[in-house]
């Protein structure tokens, strides 16, 4: 890697049937970086990824992906990108090894046998090589998909909700592999809905209604939101919710198990709003806003901006 960004695109736009799905998105990802793409369902994450790897033609925009023009170089880009689809998209009626062998042949890998063995070993699939892919559990399917994406040693991994429906242990293993690969210089663009996964990314971006609303490290994103949060715990949280809803300064009330997070942009108004609720038995603490608080805030406010 010579320091050129792995992804450097600007003004990327795409609409379907007159509906703008991706709206002038600019994104720059450095080599070896893990970039997390967040945003509600239908916010354009998948469409953006598909445009990057040449599955969809962008309506507008410019820039490069792995040094190739992302509008015209999709052929070169495809050969150096590993794309893991949201839905398991390998052949369920083929075994693990047969699936990988198929992919290796499609990429026309020079040393197919040894590459296959290495990848099977690295991803812990050697013991299940003769199992039908359709019979694998979610976590193992995901391992297989990742292994298949890594067969041709891509420089960029595009992962579209790779951990949806995967258990926590498998998710942790998965992220360990991703970090290991990134340390070796691989660039990763990943979409997710999980906050803990977002926090594992070097940088994140939040996409809503096709627009990139914020981007930066987790701390930068939280700081930029300007959100202040109080946590309440006590006996009558539901009562607090009903009394505070709609009060000036209170923008969101989110229950987290036994605590309630109350957030707002204006700290003074927020303080005034919760003052009447400071009763004995209820514990109030000013806490740093969590990423989840910030995202819910972004989701709510973007809904107001784009009805």
């Amino acid at each position: 890697m010579n320091g050129n960004p792995a992804i450097d695109v600007r003004g990327v736009t795409k609409s379907f049937d007159g509906k703008v799905v991706v709206d002038h998105v600019a994104l720059r990802v450095e080599p070896g970086e893990i970039y997390g793409f967040l945003g509600p369902n239908g916010s354009g994450k998948t469409t953006f990824i598909r445009m990057l790897c040449g599955l969809l033609k962008a309506d507008g925009g410019e820039g490069t992906c792995l040094g190739f023009d992302f509008l015209t170089g999709s052929r070169e880009i495809k050969s150096q990108v590993g794309y893991m689809t949201q839905r398991f998209s390998f052949y369920e009626d083929l075994t693990v090894q047969e699936n990988l062998d198929f992919v290796a042949r499609v990429y026309d890998l020079p040393d197919r046998r040894t590459t296959l063995e290495r990848v099977l070993r690295e991803h812990g699939l050697a013991g299940r090589r003769h199992q039908l892919a359709g019979g694998l559990s979610g976590g193992w399917k995901q391992r297989l998909a990742l292994a298949a994406c890594m067969l041709h040693s891509p420089k960029l991994l595009l992962l579209d909700e790779p951990t949806a429906g995967v258990d926590p242990k498998a998710r942790r293993d998965f992220w360990e592999s991703i970090h290991k690969l990134a340390a070796e210089g691989l660039t990763v663009l990943i979409t997710t809905h999980y906050m803990d996964e977002a926090e594992r990314c070097h940088r994140i971006g939040y996409l809503s209604y096709g627009r990139l609303l914020t981007t930066g490290t987790v701390n930068e994103v939280i700081a930029a939101s300007g959100l202040h949060t109080w946590a309440a715990s006590g006996p009558d949280l539901q009562g607090i919710v009903s009394r505070l809803t709609g009060k000036p300064g209170v923008e969101q009330l989110v229950p987290f198990g036994t605590t309630l997070h109350i957030s707002g942009i204006d700290p003074i108004k927020l303080g005034e709003a919760i003052d009447p609720e400071r009763k004995p038995g209820t514990d109030w603490q000013k806490i740093p806003s969590s990423l989840e608080d910030v995202f819910i805030h972004l989701m709510d406010s973007s809904r107001d901006n784009f009805p």
Binding site: F16, R50, L55, L56, K57, K78, V81, T85, S89, E92
Partner: protein
Amino acid sequence: MRFFNFHRLAAIVVKEFIQMRRDRLTFGMMVGIPLIQLMLFGFAINSNPKNLPTAVVLGDNGPFVQTLLHGMKNSGYFEIRERLDESAAREALTLGRVQFVLTIPPDFARSLLRGDRPDILLEADATDPAATSNAISTMQELARSVWNRDLSGPLATLAGRPDPVNLIIHAKFNPEEITQYNIVPGLMGVVLTMTMVMITALAITRERERGTMENLLAMPTRPIEVLLGKIVPYILVGYIQVGLILAAAALLFHVPMMGSLLLLLAAAFVFIAANLAVGVTFSSVASNQLQAMQMSFFFFLPSLLLSGFMFPFRGMPVWAQYLGEIFPLTHFLRIIRGILLKGSGLHPTLVELGPIALFLLVALAVGVRRYRQTLD
């Protein structure tokens, strides 16, 4: 909890109707297939074909012959197309351009008047016995009675005999008029049409339905590689079917094999490819496997009914014949029956192969255009 609840039943019924309405194509097929069946069975199909094209070789063209020709025409079964010399007439019969050749010997009128019972020869292309049998029995009746008016007065004695002429009928290419000889080779075309179209249509649609197409497209594969890669295995399957049917035809049904099998296998290649191309085109339009299946039937049904496999091609009205000419099966039936039963060589085979090749090109062009390299 009652054992059977009508509200629950209604919930499912309503849901089915909603889904049915959403799937426009399926809905269209539900209406389209009965309509097509009705049109084909009702108007196009006729198991008693008339106006069969006939060539005549006339050694004598006198009034008696004219009477016979008029009689044949008036019967409705024969349509006298052309007057040819002997070898041209035989070629027309082999190519399938005419169904019958009538040969009148020189000196026909004189022999008739002398009471010599002159020979007249009717050669029939009997590859499809159903197409010719009614016409032949009409001809036998004509030979007995067509001259009744001419042979009146002083010539009445000639008419009184059982037959004034000696009608010789050659049922060529299938002299015993065994229906299997016609059906079994035809079945090869039918089976190939059925399986080739459906298998490819399903195979590619399945790829899309299961989401594996997205993966294929994200890899550096080109559309033509994917298409050919999906087609090649089924060409092999097609040849296995060809082999099976040929073996059964020879061993079980004793179908004669007059022509070159190599030529047949070569012609089968174009035919198989044409059907696979149709399958590919369907798969690029269908969004799920059910739709692909329905489209295959939509293609298969008229192929079967209008090709001349089930009902004589010449029995259909002209518009249906034109429609039938579009389908590869129509031409392949002529090729395989020609090669096996008539011993046809390269020329008549190429004549029928042309339309199949054209069909293949059109179907492939549509298929590749519709198959999108990108998902949008």
